[in-house]
Amino acid sequence: MPLNSEKVKKDFPILKRGIIYFDNAATTQKPRVLAERLAERYAKSHANVHRGAYKMAEETTEAFENARQKIADFLSAESSKEIIFTRNATEAINLVAYSFGRKLKRGDRILTCVSEHHSNFVPWLRVAKERGLKLDVVELTANHNFNFADFRKKLNKKTKLVAVAHISNVSGYIYPVERITREAHRVGALVLIDGAQSVGHMPVNVKKIGCDFFAFSGHKMLGPSGIGALWGREEILKNMEPFMSGGEMIREVTLKNVTWNDLPWRFEAGTPNIEGAILWGEAIDYLKKIGMKNIEAYERELLKHALLKMKKLPFIDLMKMLDLGGRTGIISFNIKGVHPHDASTMLDQYGICVRAGTHCAQPFMNHLGVPSTLRASFYLYNTKREIDYFIRALKEIHKKFI
């Protein structure tokens, strides 16, 4: 059954504020069920996980580990051991930069892309500087998509890790992660995919992609903020040193020595975001009920509706990112002659929330040759009616400022 957005909308109490929320690439709104479950948990069952031997501690541990299983299943992972809870995608990437990146040696190379979010760029720049590694950067094509030819040219036997996004948070383009992984494995490099913009917007199967690490955040897929995860291939995680140290991640500690816990807890020092994980599991249940294929198709419909209308407005600069296919519901653009911050303040006066700025992707902005852009990004609770209103607002704003 196709997605009924008017019905979906009713599940999101915040939308009653009378806003049009087009900043979903930054973070998404939460369905009512999350707040209900949270209230229920705090009222009925709360304890620390993996510690107490009493009933309520066991209940909480079970709910927490169930959530891990839901997330593993959502990505078609081999086992829940491969899901490491973090605060967000950024921390997941930093975990790999610390535990894997710091094992690399002078002369080794890391390959990333000019369009990456700072969270999948700065950690690599940093380890590269610290360890004397070489950071190679894939350029983009003329319409700012992933340049596969350039990727192949820059990939070589010295490349130990390829770190690229599944979907760019600026262009919305879906990068060819399966082909990227195949090529990278051919030279023996591991592959980290930054899936912050893909999980929750399309079906994702890490086994099919074939990658080695996959980082993502709960808050960008209807879940709470403060919880994210790293998926990693078990045989690789097994041989990696822990990231943070403390409780939970150890097996045995003496005054002189320490041994590490099993996966995934070895990488989860300290009390985790217990409620965050459990509510993230609820968000996944909600997404599954609607169906990831439906969500993907609906988002594409919204994108098409908006792009076709925006292309007709001569004062809108889409910066050559005109493709209707191969991308999700993200549109970066500018109103010619109007500064993005002025435009976003004006849109706010129409009740429309869009992002203005560099989108945590300054190298991408430099590549585009603009200081910043506007960005509208859609999700399952947005509607074509909202887009039509947005288009009218763009016209009026242009008229006011020019």
Binding site: H339, P340, H341, D342, T345, P371, F401
Partner: protein, 138 residues
């Protein structure tokens, strides 16, 4: 006072016809940058006998930043450096006709802050507004 529509007449008029745009040869050049959006200004200050005798600038920025720098430059021309250094964020908001929302305050202030920082007496400004305007870059 809070702005409902910050793009009122005064702001739009200054953004369209900014005062004191240009360069002053041989004067001190100040670079100002808004880290939030990458907007930039080059400001030239001529100070003699502790008095701002001339100011010119070139700016690439939003309406709010262009208008604010224009209004501020008019205001400080001819004033003593000690008087200029006493100007607080709130005074600047008054000059432009209202307080913008937190995410836009830096647009108004970044040029003025650079000028302040380059007067000899760097003022200790109201800490609460300093906090509000110090926004980091994600």
């Amino acid at each position: 006072m809070r702005m409902n529509d910050i793009y009122q007449e005064l702001i739009m008029e200054h953004a369209r016809n900014p005062r004191n745009v240009g360069v002053i040869r041989g004067a001190k050049k100040i670079l100002a940058k808004n880290p939030f959006c990458g907007d930039e200004a080059e400001i030239y200050l001529k100070i003699k006998n502790n008095k701002v005798i001339d100011i010119k600038y070139q700016i690439q920025g939003c309406i709010l930043s262009r208008a604010s720098l224009s209004i501020f430059s008019e205001y400080i021309k001819g004033k003593s450096t000690s008087a200029v250094s006493k100007i607080k964020d709130e005074d600047i908001f008054k000059m432009i006709g209202g307080t913008p929302s937190p995410s836009r305050q830096k647009c108004v202030l970044f040029g003025c802050e650079a000028i302040h920082a380059n007067l000899d007496t760097w003022p200790k400004k109201n800490p609460s507004t300093r906090l509000m305007t110090r926004r980091s870059q994600k």
